[in-house]
């Protein structure tokens, strides 16, 4: 059976979550591997949440926020961007492939783009196979 990854997505309430809802109201189909957690702002995405997702066995983590300059809270997405770059380096050092973490800007009107991002990411993660974290845990136990 084909490997079905599980990807956790943190979506900001104002742009990206609304964009994901728009994909729904427009009935745009995408891969079912994504599990969304709503936060008010991408700036709320604490690095701990990303690391926790990986330790819990997520095969990928997607963070979506408002486009630069469009943040509902002015600049939360910039804070998120800075943390993202550090996180990518960090997970790489932990032995997790950096492609498993992705940050994208999705506006409230970009339902189609959200669907495309999800599909793309599912493809990428499928190609990478199950998360390195899971392999380590399985070896150890």
């Amino acid at each position: 059976m084909e490997f079905q990854p599980k990807i956790i997505a943190f979506l900001c309430n104002w742009c990206s979550y609304t964009g994901a809802d728009l994909a729904g109201t427009s009935r745009i189909k995408y891969a079912p591997n994504i599990r969304v957690i709503r936060v008010m702002c991408s700036g709320r995405v604490d690095p701990t949440f990303v690391l926790k997702s990986f330790t819990e066995g997520a095969d990928g983590v997607l963070i979506c926020g408002c486009h630069p300059g469009d943040c509902h809270y002015h600049e939360g997405n910039y804070k998120c961007l800075r943390r993202y770059h550090l996180l990518v380096k960090y997970i790489e050092q932990m032995g997790i492939r950096p492609e498993r973490l992705r940050l994208e800007w999705v506006s409230a009107s970009e339902g189609k783009i959200f669907a495309e991002i999800v599909n793309e990411m599912v493809q990428t993660v499928k190609a990478l196979g199950p998360s390195e974290v899971k392999t380590v845990v399985e070896t150890l136990t």
Partner: protein, 581 residues
């Protein structure tokens, strides 16, 4: 500690969810979890009987947490929170799982969609365990209102609010009031003078003692929150004035499409090709003549210029068809012998009296020719010396199926409407969002068309989408009614999901102060700890993610709640941890 008793409700949404998600299976599975006292599925949870189900269960079973798995929380979170409140439970002891917009509507495999629904509900269950009761806070409303834009929509809102005895600051960028309507000669469908109606309105605005008009004025900055906004304006670009107000009406209008980007129409290259707005000016001046002073013998009016076309704007600009018919009628009266051609894609004559105007026009010797908006556009070219006209327009006439040539001495391009260039700037100032076409987004497309997701900010008229005069006025008055409602209440509830600092854990590093976009956090020098001003805090949670010691709690999105939500998503097994809460 009180035992946690959770009620879980899985909505069918008719067939919207039930078709793709096995809702009964989801309810059955979730019912197995500890602390879940009841798990039900029901056809329409948002309906009155659906809400009653929750209310009765809370009362009878003593539920102290509720999870509803249905549509997006953006649609019905408030509905269910109110149901909890009705049953005497704090509305924040509630969580929604979105299994419609983000599940049943976007997936095609029932097994996968059902699995996803279970994950999402389980995650909600894990999160709601750590929800805490939050009490709503209220702030007093400043009874003054700021109206941005002095067009017909802005003026109508101002008059309505001022009519109730409340102060209005009406700010207009241009030198005079009137906006787009000031450029119109007659209005459709009744062919009445736009100027007469507009002047009446302007006169009422200028005379109203409750309206302070600032023309030739830009807004520098707006800050604050519902009930207590403040802005800096600089009238006539001179010294700055500060205004205080409780609500904002955005009525910034629209602009017209520039047809020079459409090569087929040669606008700006050939002399007697006018935009509808330029032609409107000609009508107002009372002289319909070519550049060389001769009256035209053939006039062609081309519809849908920049509208309903994938290359330009996909949407319908709504007012152009009727405006084009208005022109045809005015032309017929002014030039009884001229040939008048309406070159249209589809005739949109919806609205009171509009179909009648269409029917009247067709009886006044006006030739209607149809082109296919999906096919090639009509092409305008200069006529030859032997032709008895200045231009020739070639088009594939859709109804006859023939390629034809239309003679013209004057061409009127019915230009579409689009969002203004400064829409983004305005959106930023007041904190609202724009759709893909840069029109402002309303709070709910059907149920809340003039409010926005920012409390206290309302959008009226064409800044929300193309609109005619009566619709703009209706919206303006609707917003006025909403604002007068909040003013009458005297106070409004504000964000409760704010951040707060646990002073025991705060190390005084002040990182939170640096990241806060609202300067809501300050430093208490004596105690060497940070402090959140909860009136200024908007609950973005950025400080919570930056705090190195975990001293900051972002209410309703706490670290504990979100980490638990992640665990809920990833762990399939029944969690023994649940019992210990």
């Amino acid at each position: 500690m009180e035992e946690v008793k959770i009620g879980v409700y899985v909505c069918w949404c008719g067939t919207n969810i039930a078709k793709m998600v096995d809702v009964e299976e989801v309810a059955k599975e979730i019912g197995k979890y500890p602390n879940v006292v009841i798990a039900r599925d029901y056809k329409y949870m948002c309906s009155d009987p659906g809400q009653e189900l929750i209310i009765n269960d809370i009362k009878k079973l003593g539920l102290n947490r509720v999870v509803v798995s249905a549509c997006s929380p953006r649609i019905h979170e408030l509905t269910f929170r109110k149901a909890l409140e009705k049953a005497g439970l704090n509305p924040y002891l509630f969580e929604m799982a979105n299994i419609r917009e983000q599940d049943s509507w976007v997936h095609t495999d029932r097994v996968e969609a059902t699995r996803k629904a279970k994950d999402l509900v389980r995650a909600a269950l894990h999160k709601v365990l750590f929800h805490e009761p939050l009490s709503e806070r209220t702030v007093e409303i400043n009874p003054a209102t700021l109206v941005i834009g002095g067009g017909i929509a802005g003026m109508s809102a101002a008059l309505e609010i001022a009519g109730a005895g409340k102060k209005v600051y009406l700010v207009e960028k241009m030198e005079s009031l009137g906006g787009m309507m000031a450029r119109l000669d007659l209005t459709f469908p009744g062919l009445e003078s736009a100027r007469d109606n507009l002047q009446l309105t302007v006169a009422r605005v200028m005379k109203d003692p409750n309206i302070e008009v600032y023309t030739n004025t830009v807004i520098r900055d707006i800050f604050g929150y519902v009930g207590n906004f403040e802005c800096i304006i600089s009238p006539n670009f001179k010294e700055d004035i500060s205004l205080q107000f409780g609500n904002v009406v955005v009525a910034t209008g629209l602009k017209t499409f520039d047809p020079s980007v459409i090569p087929e129409y040669k606008y700006g290259q050939l002399p007697d090709i006018y935009t509808s707005h330029e032609f409107e000016g000609m009508l107002t001046s009372g002289r319909i003549v070519r550049k060389d002073g001769r009256p035209p013998e053939n006039v062609a009016i081309i519809h849908c210029v920049g509208s309903r076309n994938r290359n330009y704007h996909e949407y319908c600009s709504r007012v152009c068809c009727m405006t084009a018919l208005k022109y045809a009628n005015q032309l017929r009266s002014a030039l009884p012998e001229a040939n008048i051609f309406e070159i249209y894609a589809d005739m949109r004559a919806m609205g009171k009296g509009c179909e009648e105007l269409y029917s009247l026009s067709s009886r006044r010797k006006i030739m209607f020719l149809m082109f296919d908006q999906q096919g090639p556009l009509p092409v305008i070219r200069k006529a030859g010396s032997r032709d008895k006209c200045d231009y020739l327009i070639t088009l594939q006439e859709k109804l006859s199926g023939q390629d034809i040539e239309v003679p013209a001495d004057m061409v009127i391009l019915m230009v579409g409407t689009e969002a203004r260039e400064d829409a983004k700037e305005v959106a930023h100032q007041v904190g609202i969002s724009m759709c893909g076409n840069a029109f402002f987004i309303e709070k709910h497309p059907k149920l809340d068309p003039v409010a926005t997701t920012t409390n206290g900010v309302y959008i009226v008229g064409s800044c929300q989408g193309p609109k005619d005069i009566p619709d703009s006025i209706s919206q303006a008055r609707a917003a006025a009614a909403r604002i007068l409602g909040t003013i009458a209440q005297g106070s409004v509830t504000v964000e409760v999901t704010t951040a707060n600092v646990n002073e025991e854990l705060c190390c005084g590093c002040q990182t939170c102060i640096k990241v806060c976009p609202y300067t809501a956090i300050s430093f208490k020098e004596e105690e060497k700890v940070s402090f959140v001003n909860e009136i200024l805090c908007k609950g973005c949670g950025t400080c919570g993610s930056a705090c190195p010691t975990g001293a900051i709690t972002c209410r309703h999105f706490t670290d504990r709640q979100l980490i638990n939500q992640i665990e809920g998503l990833m762990r399939m097994d029944v969690e023994p941890e649940l019992k210990e809460v």
